[in-house]
Amino acid sequence: EAGVTQFPSHSVIEKGQTVTLRCDPISGHDNLYWYRRVMGKEIKFLLHFVKESKQDESGMPNNRFLAERTGGTYSTLKVQPAELEDSGVYFCASSPRQSNSPLHFGNGTRLTVT
């Protein structure tokens, strides 16, 4: 089975620009999550989709971040306009519908805002 894939693997943009990250979850996984790790700190939750619906977006830093999952398949996370503090590694994860099942992570997108 193909794992969670993320694109791009790296992105370097200037402050004020826009970046869109993409995540393709494991086929059949209803749950899709975005997490972020900044400056070697803990991996922080951003938001959670169940199919195409946002279940929990309590971790989104501010309204410069917009996540979508049209059709309940792949998801995008757009940062507009990017700020220096948005730099970090953005991870996407997916899991099946059942509760208490582990998250399967992609390799992340390393975002650098200069």
Binding site: E42, A93, N100, F105
Partner: protein, 113 residues
């Protein structure tokens, strides 16, 4: 967010020795815990999990211990190998919380040959 082992210590061990990585969590309502391993340039990879109705679970060369009284989780790696060098994260989930996990900042394990 929840406090789950917010320090990032580094543990150095000799190849062949056993490793113990510790994690403290703050939410007594958490019912499911996972250890993840993250190698450079990759995403966190599942190692082992444990539910709150257990206090010990064993896998291949790994054992997870859960002490709910003091809210402590540990990962034991037997006969540590160079390939075990990575950052290890513990993660917790609250009961009925749709697989939303809270992660610690991780522990870096260095295995010396």
């Amino acid at each position: 967010g929840e406090s789950v082992g917010l320090h990032l210590p580094t543990l150095s061990v000799q190849e062949g020795d056993n490793s113990i990585i510790n994690c403290a969590y703050s939410n007594s309502a958490s019912d499911y815990f996972i250890w993840y391993k993250q190698e450079s340039g990759k995403g966190p990879q599942f190692i082992i999990d444990i539910r709150s109705n257990m206090d010990k679970r064993q896998g291949q060369r790994v054992t997870v211990l859960l002490n709910k009284t003091v809210k402590h989780l540990s990962l034991q790696i037997a006969a540590t190998q160079p390939g075990d060098s990575a950052v290890y994260f513990c993660a917790e989930k609250k009961l009925y919380n749709f697989n939303k996990f809270y992660f610690g900042s991780g522990t870096k394990l260095n295995v010396k040959p």
